[in-house]
Symmetry: C2
Subunit: 205 residues, 2 copies
Amino acid sequence: MDNQQTTTGRDAAGTRRRLVQAARRRFATEGFRATTVRHIAADVGVNVALISRYFGSKEGLFEACMSRTVDELDPRRITRPGTVDELVDRLIGHIIELPNPDDPLQLLLLLRSSGDERADAIRRRTLESFTERLAGVAGWRAEDPTTEPLLLRAQIAIATMLGLVMLRTSTGVQPVTSATSADFTEPLGQALRALLTTAPAPTQE
Amino acid sequence: MDNQQTTTGRDAAGTRRRLVQAARRRFATEGFRATTVRHIAADVGVNVALISRYFGSKEGLFEACMSRTVDELDPRRITRPGTVDELVDRLIGHIIELPNPDDPLQLLLLLRSSGDERADAIRRRTLESFTERLAGVAGWRAEDPTTEPLLLRAQIAIATMLGLVMLRTSTGVQPVTSATSADFTEPLGQALRALLTTAPAPTQE
DNA sequence: CCGGCATGTAAACGCATGTTGACTTAGGTT
DNA sequence: AACCTAAGTCAACATGCGTTTACATGCCGG
């Protein structure tokens, strides 16, 4: 009974899960407002009305995507508490292989303001939640002024990888052909480690 | 006769320009598909039908935004040919002050795939055009395999700033409050310069 | 075997969108 | 002053959207 089928119909839980999966891909690549529930339903192969029935509304489906994303983004799954290097490695591992809208971190980063007020509020809440979790993993406290720059650098690192995802997937601009994955990853990782580990000497001298 | 008024109506050229300006803000913050021509017209304070009359269609207005962006992105206005440092400085100067959808580079970076096939083609063309111009300014030739890594690093630099724009504007996540502009800019600039200047030693041992 | 319920479908509604055609008004020319 | 053309408005349209209501279908316990 715990073994859930993934392909056929007549399984509400499975259908819900496949709807969320398809919705995450659409939301990540096209944005909230440009995504239509009819397309999501067609991706799964079910009727549109099921979305309203299961999730109440398009925003409910979006919220389901985000809540599942938050669960999967449990920092303990992203990195073990400890060194910054591990954090960087895991983040790079999560992001650098593209395109993969199923990755919850990618989904979180790819989402943008869409003009829809409530959807934007959901997204903002999720992002702030993740930032707090990330800070907690790294042992940083936002209230501690000496560790704030580290949190800022984490944001820069995330932003860098967000931009890479954008360039390589959403914009259609591909890296130069001869650049191997190692060529791409290595200097990026070095820069990120430098950003994260090099303190700005807040009170030093 | 060359002095064009900027506020009142009954001036076709001025109205067209204000429509393009308003459209660029909407497109940059909400994306192509989520932006409605009625909102753009309301921003300017004119009737919706003028958009269809002046630009043919919503896509025509989008194309007008992009062509103007390409003109303003003349690399000679972004940086004088020469050192990579100048390029980085100018790019940071263009991006780091936020939010400013009027900046053509920001507009270019903020645009994303929107599910609209023709609009995506326009955006992709513009991005490729800018990448080529950027490579030309830096004296890089895509055909030269030894300079390809530099072009890749330029893309990384652009991606980084794109991500910063995303985080700081679109996602609503603000940098930590105590971080001054210098705190934000300095380590970023160092990292970007390192990325751009440090060659990956393509054939070096 | 069969009723009942969960699962899925089909069609329609109300609304917002992009676009179009006919109409109105301002401003310069004769 | 009369007029004409450009500049702008207004109302309507076809379409696609999210959502709802009514209907069909498979599955399980008696």
